[in-house]
């Protein structure tokens, strides 16, 4: 008893140590955001906090506009993604054919194509479709990017649902849409919502397409960051403030839904 208690202390200390080390860079960004530009270069923890950088950031860019675009795009693409992915995953999970496995893999492998290789084809497509700098264009591209993941994850979650339940629903008179909507989706909800969370995070942080395909009207927070970042790393305080503002919404959302994320992942793919 005695030793197990002291061991639990030890685990606590190690656990916290790791957490602090991993979180430290983010903590440092948060601290730097409240420093002046000159103080930002010094490693000191003691400084007089100032909102200067935030004032500057808000004066320079329309943060709310960028943030709203990010929200529209992340939620919109995730929703659209599921609308397309769920029927496909339904078919693959419950009526698999010999090609289902290879199709899934092929889909996942297209996801591995580097974006830099297909920028121009997509750009030209977008141009001719008039989708440049439109929220819908980005929603489309993220849907396309995330679709394989959504299908694959939904597929693994659906495989956990006994097919007899869907058959029961059919006998009860449920059509395909009813089966999916009333039975399958609610049953796989934990898995689907944690997948959704994953997709939202990925869309939120995607920086290549958003920067290349939008300019002002549809520009999300990654573009906002691009106006503060430079590979040369100038203006740390302002960059930190902007980063904090860009990361905060998604991080708060992630933290609030962490329980959901955990339980959802437990349900499906990783059980």
């Amino acid at each position: 008893m005695e030793s197990s208690r002291s061991r639990s202390w030890l685990f606590g200390i190690i656990g916290w140590l790791v957490a602090i080390v991993l979180f430290f860079p983010i903590f440092w960004v948060a601290i730097t955001a409240f420093k002046t530009e000159q103080a930002a270069y010094s490693p000191s923890l003691i400084f007089s906090p100032t909102l200067e950088s935030f004032h500057e950031v808000f004066a320079r860019s329309n943060y709310v506009g960028f943030a709203l675009n990010s929200i529209y795009i992340a939620l919109g693409s995730t929703l659209l993604c599921f609308i397309i992915a769920i029927p496909a995953a339904y078919r693959m999970a419950f009526f698999p054919s010999a090609k289902t496995q290879s199709t899934l893999l092929w889909m996942l492998s297209t996801k591995m194509m580097p974006a830099v290789g297909v920028l121009l084809p997509i750009y030209l497509l977008f141009k001719s479709a008039g989708l440049l700098d439109s929220v819908w264009g980005l929603i489309g591209i993220y849907t396309l990017i995330n679709l394989p993941i959504a299908i694959w994850m939904s597929y693994t979650y659906f495989r956990e649902v006994p097919s007899a339940i869907l058959e029961a629903a059919r006998v009860d008179g449920a059509g395909i849409m009813s089966q999916i909507w009333h039975v399958l989706t609610p049953m796989a909800l934990p898995g689907i919502s944690s997948t959704a969370l994953l997709l939202i995070i990925l869309s939120w942080n995607e920086a290549f397409w958003s920067i290349n395909l939008t300019s002002s009207h549809a520009a999300p927070l990654t573009v906002f960051i691009a106006s503060y970042s430079s590979p040369e790393g100038l203006f740390w305080a302002k960059l930190s403030a902007a980063s904090l503002l860009a990361v905060a919404p998604i991080m708060v959302m992630g933290w609030l839904t962490q329980k959901q994320l955990v339980s959802g992942l437990t349900f499906g793919a990783v059980k």
Partner: protein
């Protein structure tokens, strides 16, 4: 009451392999007629095609060829919901995210029934099944038996012409199984609706069915009421499948002995003269292989009839299972194993030798080649 008769004609189900070529035929052209209000049990070992047949009746599995009629109407291309059927699944298949009430109401809701109608129907079914206290619970908080009753209730509220059961009791413990068995039988007695019940358990089949359809490898072996099935098995498969402990089946040949015929088993240790009742059937099989069948209860220490008792068989007891009302004896005669059932209490020790009389009135002979009975 609408017509709940089911007529199956030359039904075939072939599954395709990975490349889309036909690979495996699960159901090989069966014909079966089920009368309105009848309780029909489909029974057979796993892989015999009974569940596939049931699923084709339900419309969950496409039909390769042949027809299924329900209520005199061919339903091959009718959606399950429009066939007038209800189904109870092996694992209950309850919707875990819905309450008991919602589970039972789901079908009616999809059928766009009015709220009042739904409530009435569900309440009535719930009362009948003793579920009225559980209506607001979720399935995972229920016991196995309760879940199965909910699944039953869900079927009842649909008010179907035909109930389909797919091994509904196999997940319950022994006690619950017996209880639910009587419950389903009671339900049938009350509703008088056609029920088609799939099971691999011959006890369930015998106790519940009006008629039993024994299947094997996609083919119907025999359809009959339980007692007929027991007394007059059409083939060696049915003989061996129905009855517990199973019928003793001995391979051997028919030989001429003096003026009559006798059965000699392949070890040569077991020789019985055939009674005159069987001689005319066995005559064409002289010198050919047959299978000799005798139920355990037809072996007894005392002669029960005057036929075929010339010589008691002497055997050694290997194992005795006293069940109280009866004792099951596992016996050995040379290399041959035989099971016998004794009514009443008896003290038998392993190693003990007993002399048993065979009731030759009740034995069966089967053609070893076709497996068909020859004494009929």
């Amino acid at each position: 009451m609408s017509d709940g008769s089911v007529k199956i004609k030359n039904l075939v189900k072939t599954y395709a392999n990975e490349h889309g070529h036909p690979a495996f035929t699960a159901v090989k052209g069966i014909d079966l007629e089920i009368k309105d209000g009848e309780f029909m049990v489909l029974v057979g070992p796993s892989g015999c095609g009974k569940t596939t047949t049931l699923r084709m009746i339900a419309g969950l599995e496409s039909i390769t060829s042949g027809t299924i009629e329900i209520g005199g109407k061919v339903v091959n291309d009718v959606e399950p919901k429009d066939r007038g059927i209800a189904m109870v699944f092996q694992n209950y298949a309850l919707y875990p995210h819905m309450t008991v009430f919602e589970n039972m109401a789901f079908g009616l809701k999809l059928a766009k029934k009015s709220k009042d109608d739904i409530r009435d129907a569900v309440t009535r079914a719930a009362k009948a099944l003793d579920l009225d206290q559980l209506l607001h619970r979720k399935p995972q908080t229920l016991s196995g038996g309760q879940r199965q009753r909910v699944a039953l209730g869900r079927a009842i509220v649909r008010n179907p012409k035909v109930f389909l059961f797919d091994e509904p009791l196999s997940n319950l413990d022994a006690k619950m199984r017996v209880q639910m068995r009587t419950e389903i039988s009671r339900l049938h007695a009350v509703l008088r609706t056609t029920m088609i019940y799939v099971t691999h358990d011959q006890v369930e089949a015998m106790t519940m069915g009006d008629r039993i359809c024994v299947m094997r490898a996609g083919v119907i072996m025999q359809v009959a009421d339980p007692l007929t099935l027991y007394r007059q098995p059409q083939n060696v498969f049915v003989a061996g499948f129905i009855g517990s402990p199973p019928m003793n089946l001995l391979n051997g040949v028919v030989k001429r002995s003096g003026c009559g015929l006798e059965f000699v088993d392949e070890t040569g240790a077991f020789i019985v003269p055939l009674p005159s009742r069987l001689e005319k059937f066995a005559e064409p099989f002289v010198g050919r292989k047959i299978i000799f069948g005798a139920r355990p209860e037809h072996l007894s220490p005392t002669p029960t009839s005057d036929v075929g008792t010339q010589k008691p068989l002497t055997m050694t007891i290997e194992l005795a299972e006293p069940l109280g009302s009866e004792t099951i004896l596992y016996l050995k005669s040379g290399a041959r194993q035989i099971v016998a059932r004794h009514i009443g209490e008896q003290h038998c020790q392993p190693g003990q030798t007993v002399a048993l009389h065979l009731n030759m009135e009740k034995v069966h002979l089967f053609d070893a080649e076709t497996g068909n009975v020859i004494n009929a």
